[in-house]
Amino acid sequence: MELSSTDRALVQALWKKLGSNVGIYATEALERTFQAFPSTKTYFPHFDLSPGSSQVKAHGQKVANALTLAANHLDDLSGALSALSALHAHKLHVDPANFQLLSHCLLVTLARHYPGDFSPAMQASLDKFLSNVNSALASKYH
């Protein structure tokens, strides 16, 4: 789905507002994903997944950095996420359906922490952005 200029403006405005907290919210989104969709834990048998895990926190920061990269490269998500796509496809072997589960939990996290900013229009733009990120992440799969 193509991002309109309104979509881009809304996403970038929210990202600016999140500032250095993106890592905190990505971590919470990961925690929510593991709890709500236990099958996602199968990709992390080597992690301590208990609440407050430093491994989950570190991974949340990685996810946050990738999303911030994406938010700053809305014109070329495929290019920006090409290496990550190859990693998830060829090394990590993650079923792409899982990207949507994390995206959903990210939206839940943002709705919970920024209810005043989470208008229907903002949600629509974020949803589109995350769908495009997921498509870019799946682009190297074959």
């Binding site: 929510r32 959903h104 919970r112 229907p120 629509a124 949803d127």
Partner: protein, 147 residues
């Protein structure tokens, strides 16, 4: 059949008793129509759905949202018997309304997001997990009579 633990049931009912069915129902359906505009296909006769403002202010959307969420209340009352509770509605959605069951999953997830927005502090990961189980169970139950 989905099995809910006592803790999961409590997590669900503790949120449900706070829910204003009219308000949350309207918001959930409105957001569905805005975020996933193809879902508007079922609501041709509803009038103006041309912008987020139009959708959220549309009285028919509000009324239908309330209807849908009231029906969801049956799920909360019948967590151990979802398929039976939604058998008739499943037939209706297949035979008369011709709704792709994928839409039940979209609506269920939208409800979870709306609840997170309204009940933030209480909507912890384990509370969300209980609700995800419920909305998934409802989606399956509503699709159960499709043929």
């Amino acid at each position: 059949m989905v099995h809910f633990t006592a803790e999961e049931k409590a997590a669900i009912t503790n949120i449900w008793k706070k829910v204003n069915v009219e308000e949350i129902g309207a918001e959930t359906l409105g957001r569905l129509l805005i975020v996933y505009p193809w879902t508007q296909r079922f609501f041709d006769t509803f009038g103006n759905l041309s912008s987020p403002c139009a959708v959220m202010g549309n009285p028919r959307v509000k009324a239908h949202g309330k209807k849908v969420l009231t029906s969801f209340g049956e799920a909360v009352k019948n967590m151990d018997h979802l398929k039976e509770a939604f058998a008739k509605l499943s037939e209706l959605h297949c035979d008369k309304l011709h709704v792709d069951p994928e839409n039940f999953r979209l609506l269920g997830n939208m409800l979870v997001i709306v609840l997170a927005g309204h009940y933030g502090k209480e909507f912890t990961p384990d509370v969300q997990a209980a609700w995800q189980k419920l909305v998934a169970g409802v989606a399956v139950a509503l699709g159960n009579k499709y043929h």
